[in-house]
Every structure is written in structure tokens, then in C-alpha cells.
């Protein structure tokens, strides 16, 4: 049995899959990948089920070493410089690490989370059908916590099949689309402020919630409501008027009014926005939001057909450039800011 050893890794990196659904009624957060398209693309590159567990790698650099045999991996999500022993590796592609070889990944560029799939999947003990790590609830496998240097992931021996790349459509751009509600009537003019303003994601954000920095959104009747259920992308506004977008490790219920909800098709794109980058929201109707959800589902279904042989693949300049920064970036980890407790929704 081969294994992939984590040689170095930054904070906010953990094993994640499609999520842990069916127990939100007991207070169990769903967890799961921040960007499902990145997760699915990485898995398709090595022939895994689309929502199989992957290593979700946070904004900083990481490196992985194959031990006891060769390991084949797929790389997708936020692009990074990647190299094996100085040889540049293409993004959105698979690669095989020979026994003893180390894959070095630089910092995420133009996004926050990348996905490393291991051919044959990651072995672990599923709870409610998922290996996804939720450190607060002591859940996740093979480690019920973010990954650390020295961690080992058991891997099937590399199959030796030719490497693959995946053609993804050009990334959507423009404002993050939201459906207003369920409590937009708690805000009055606050809705206009919310939609007309530019926002930035705070560096104190984490997998539970993204805190937004911008003008204060004021409530009509105060900021306490009786708790009700939350979803990925619920945008709740606490007393200080700074919205918090709830992410997959969210509490399953919350007691602040929710002004709007990020549409499911834009959730991964939203999750990838780096801290400090300006962006806007745009309200859309339910018909458009649900049409986009169908298009996104079709895109996920099309992924296996988008996987191609790598032989005609132009190794792009960006990948080569990125390879040069990969080594240095591993040292750029700032463990102090990215993860911090966010008790905003505490009873």
C-alpha cells in the first residue's frame, strides 16, 4: 500500500468531500468542500466519484511526498504553481509521484482553496456518509482536525494510466448572485445598502462563516430574531451591521436576521474569493437562480467527458512561472489570521 505523506501544509487545510447531509435536524453541520466544482474536477482527473474525499488545501503553500510506492493525484480548484523536483506540473491535471518524490504547491492564486484528489480515494471511517472534517464537532477521518505536517493518507498504488487534464469552462465573473430573504423584510433600506455596496471578506473568516467588511447594514427592528434554520450561503446580519455569510461548517440554526442567500451555483465562486478582494452582490429572482442551479448540475455531470489525454496539452507559461515561487511560498504561512473561533451564533 502506498501512502501520501503531508510534508508541509498551511492552516485551513483538511479532508473534505461532498458533505455530511441528513442530520442537520440534530444540529450536525454539513461540512464538505467549499468549492464543489474544484472537488469534482480533481476527482474526475483520477477516475474517482465526483464527490469523493479530497485534500482541501487552504490559501497557503503545501507539499506532499509519496512513500511505499507511487501515488497518482489530481489537482484542481484555485490554481497554484506546482512542481516535482523543479519540474513544473500543469494545473487542472493529474500527475504521478514516484516513490520518494515530493509535490510542492505554492500559494493559491485568484482563489483560496485547491483540491488534491488521490487515485482510488482517501480511506477513512465515514460518519453520515462523509469523511469531511469538522474540527469543532470532533468529526472527520482519517484525522478529525485540519491536516498537519507528518500526517499520512493511505493510497492505492498508482495505476500507471496516462495522465489526464480537464477542460473547464471559463470561470464566471461579475457580482455574486443572491436570492433575497428569508428575512429581507427586517431591513427596509438596508437591502439597498447591501446590494449597492462593495464588500471585502475579512481575514478572520473560516469554514464556519465569512465575515464581510463594508458599510453597516441597519435593521428595522433590532438584530435578534427567534432562531431558524440556515443553509450554505445564508447571509445573516448581527448587531454591528457587518454581514456574515454562512459556510459549510455553519451552525444549523441561527438567531440573526438573514437578508439574502448566495445562489447555489455561485457558492463555490464566492467561497474562492480571497480575503481583502472587493466584490459586489446582485439580487436575482427565483426562476433565474433555479435555472442556474440546473446549469451547474449539468456542468458537474459533464465533467467526466471533459477529461482528456494530456499529450497535446500546452504547458502554459503561468504554470512554469508558478513553479518558481512554489518553494518560497510554503514559508508564507500565517497561522494567526485565517482560522479563529466565530461564536456569532452561540445560544
Amino acid at each position: 500500500m502506498s501512502k501520501l505523506v503531508v510534508s508541509s501544509i498551511g492552516p485551513a487545510s483538511s479532508v473534505q468531500d461532498g458533505g455530511r447531509f441528513g442530520a442537520q435536524r440534530y444540529g450536525m453541520p454539513p461540512s464538505g468542500a467549499m468549492d464543489r466544482l474544484g472537488l469534482a474536477a480533481a476527482n474526475c482527473l483520477v477516475g474517482n466519484a465526483v464527490f469523493a474525499p479530497c485534500v482541501e488545501i487552504g490559501p497557503f503553500g503545501a507539499s506532499f511526498t509519496a512513500r511505499d510506492g507511487a501515488v497518482r493525484v489530481g489537482l484542481a480548484g484555485a490554481p497554484r504553481g506546482a512542481d516535482i523536483g523543479g519540474r513544473a506540473i500543469a494545473w487542472n491535471a493529474s500527475v504521478t509521484l514516484a516513490e520518494g518524490e515530493t509535490l510542492k504547491l505554492g500559494m493559491a492564486r485568484g482563489g483560496s482553496f485547491s483540491y488534491l484528489a488521490i487515485e482510488g480515494g482517501i480511506r477513512g471511517e465515514a460518519v453520515f456518509g462523509s469523511l469531511s472534517v469538522n474540527a469543532r464537532a470532533g468529526l472527520g477521518s482519517p484525522y478529525a482536525r485540519p491536516l498537519q505536517s507528518g500526517d499520512e493518507l493511505q493510497a492505492a498504488p498508482a495505476s500507471g494510466v496516462p495522465e489526464r487534464r480537464i477542460d473547464l469552462p471559463a470561470e464566471a465573473s461579475g457580482p455574486i448572485r443572491v436570492v433575497l430573504g428569508p428575512q429581507d423584510d427586517e431591513f427596509g433600506d438596508g437591502v439597498k445598502w447591501f446590494l449597492d455596496s462593495e464588500w471585502k471578506i475579512s481575514a478572520t473568516s473560516d469554514r464556519m462563516g465569512y465575515r464581510l467588511e463594508g458599510p453597516a447594514v441597519t435593521h428595522l427592528h433590532g438584530h435578534n430574531i427567534v432562531s431558524d434554520g440556515t443553509v450554505n450561503g445564508s447571509i445573516q446580519v448581527p448587531g454591528n451591521g457587518q454581514p456574515i455569510v454562512l459556510m459549510p461548517d455553519r451552525g444549523t440554526s441561527g438567531g440573526y436576521p438573514k437578508i439574502a442567500t448566495v445562489i447555489s451555483a455561485d457558492f463555490g465562486r464566492f467561497a474562492q474569493i480571497p480575503a481583502g478582494t472587493g466584490f459586489r452582490f446582485r439580487a436575482v429572482g427565483m426562476k433565474e437562480a433555479q435555472a442556474e442551479a440546473k446549469k451547474f448540475a449539468e456542468l458537474l455531470r459533464s465533467l467526466p467527458d471533459r477529461v482528456k489525454g494530456i499529450e497535446n496539452f500546452d504547458l502554459n507559461i503561468e504554470a512554469l512561472h508558478g513553479a518558481n515561487v512554489a518553494g518560497a511560498a510554503v514559508n508564507a504561512v500565517d497561522a494567526g489570521t485565517w482560522q479563529s473561533p466565530s461564536p456569532a451564533d452561540a445560544p
Binding site: R136, T261, I263
Partner: protein, 248 residues
């Protein structure tokens, strides 16, 4: 021809979009036991007669959150079905399970009991006697795994949440916040008043069942001393339920 008691017609709930893949079926804006009964009734109906496309439901005090797959059913179609089911007559539940749950009150187990009693001009013993005298209902489970919000708190024990929520409160904490009392399973933040601790794990991996309580279950508490708490805590650690189910 209907003779005898005839219930007033039920008011329609508000059907609020929570994004493109969930609907909040809201029966009230405040904490309201009648609304909570309707939430749990709709939840049971959906469990016994599933609607194609619904993924899971999350009951809360005043609303039912219905997660669904928008590629299988759209907002308008699902709203119509949920509205219809919400207006069907509300059956009274008589078969809810009833649990007895031990609590070590005060001291290191409930650091707010003394101050809580002082504020209410009662003795700590009076607080405990009143807290164990009531029968509660699990109105909802939320925030973190197994965190159970109970309705039925006696009016004399109601008190607003603390001004300064604590960032870390112990696993098993029994507390009061506003008109509710609660059972917290995992250590975590809380702004409620900490009265005691139970050895009972409402959530425990590798135990059958993983989750002890269901929304709608009945709960009463009984007081145990620190020694009994420690013994029961060890047994609970090894997977014993400790909570006793009362005969119906």
C-alpha cells in the same frame, strides 16, 4: 356534518425562500408553542409521506426549513405542496418519548446558579426544585450537534441571556436563556446562564443511537450529587445512555 368541537381554521404559514435550494415554512415570528406543534406536525407528515426532491428537514421553534434539490422540484411547485400540508388538521401527538435526565446542579457544575438565584431573589434550592418540577419538550436541536432547546420553562425561571456570552462553556451544560432551557452536548460558546451539567451525551459517535433526542421528545430532569455525576459520566463515556426512557 361536524358536531362537537371544531377547530378554528389554521392560518397559512409564510413560505420564505432560503436561497434556491431551501424553503423556510414560517408559522410564527416569536417563540410560540402552538407554532412549534405545527412545525413538528408538518415535519412528521413529510417523514411519513415524502415529497420527491426534498433532501432533509430542520425543525426549529417557529419554522420548518425544507432543503430540496431544485433540479427535481421548483420553488413554486414545492411551496404549493407544503402550503397544502401545513393547512391539514393538526393531529395531537400522544406518543412522544419521555426521558429522565440527571443533572448535577450548582458549584463547579453550574457556576451561574448562585447569581441566577440572587437575581431572582430565590434560593439555589428553590431554583433547582422549580427546574426539576416542569416537564419540557424538545422544541428544536440546533447550532451544534445535540444542542437541544427545550420549551416549557416555568415563568419564574425566565431570564434574558447574559450581556457577555462566554466563548467556552462545558460539555453537558444545562442552562437557561430567555424563556428556554437547554441541554448543550459539546463544549462551546454560550450566552445562557449555566445551572448545572448532565453526564448524558445527546450526541455520541460510535453509540447507537448517535443522537439521543428527537424534536418533540419530552424531558424531565432530576438532581444528582457530584459523586453520582462522576460515576454516570464514566459510564456515559463508555457508551451508556444514562438517560432513562419513561414508560408511556
Amino acid at each position: 356534518m361536524c358536531i362537537g368541537t371544531m377547530a378554528a381554521p389554521l392560518s397559512p404559514p409564510r413560505l420564505l425562500p432560503s436561497g434556491d435550494a431551501a424553503i423556510t415554512v414560517e408559522f410564527a415570528r416569536n417563540i410560540d408553542d402552538a407554532a412549534n406543534r405545527r412545525v413538528l406536525a408538518l415535519d412528521r407528515r413529510l417523514a411519513s409521506g415524502p415529497i420527491e426532491g426534498i433532501a432533509e428537514t430542520v425543525p426549529t421553534y417557529r419554522s420548518l426549513l425544507v432543503h430540496y434539490d431544485p433540479t427535481r422540484i421548483d420553488f413554486d411547485a414545492l411551496s404549493g405542496k407544503l402550503l397544502e400540508l401545513s393547512l391539514a388538521p393538526d393531529p395531537i401527538i400522544e406518543n412522544a418519548r419521555h426521558w429522565r435526565i440527571p443533572v448535577a446542579y450548582g458549584g463547579e457544575h453550574g457556576i451561574d446558579l448562585e447569581d441566577f438565584a440572587k437575581t431572582l431573589r430565590m434560593t439555589p434550592d428553590d431554583i433547582v426544585a422549580q427546574h426539576i418540577a416542569s416537564e419540557y419538550k424538545v422544541a428544536m436541536i440546533g447550532f451544534s450537534p445535540g444542542w437541544s432547546y427545550l420549551s416549557g420553562l416555568h415563568h419564574s425561571l425566565q431570564m434574558p441571556r447574559r450581556q457577555d456570552p462566554r466563548l467556552l462553556t462545558p460539555a453537558g451544560t444545562i442552562s437557561i436563556g430567555g424563556v428556554q432551557t437547554g441541554i448543550q452536548c459539546l463544549a462551546g460558546p454560550s450566552g445562557w446562564h449555566l445551572l448545572g451539567r448532565t453526564p448524558v451525551r445527546t450526541y455520541q459517535l460510535h453509540r447507537d443511537p448517535i443522537f439521543l433526542l428527537e424534536p418533540g421528545d419530552r424531558v424531565t430532569f432530576y438532581a444528582v450529587d457530584a459523586k453520582t455525576f462522576a460515576e454516570q459520566d464514566r459510564a456515559a463515556e463508555h457508551g451508556e445512555l444514562i438517560a432513562e426512557m419513561m414508560a408511556a
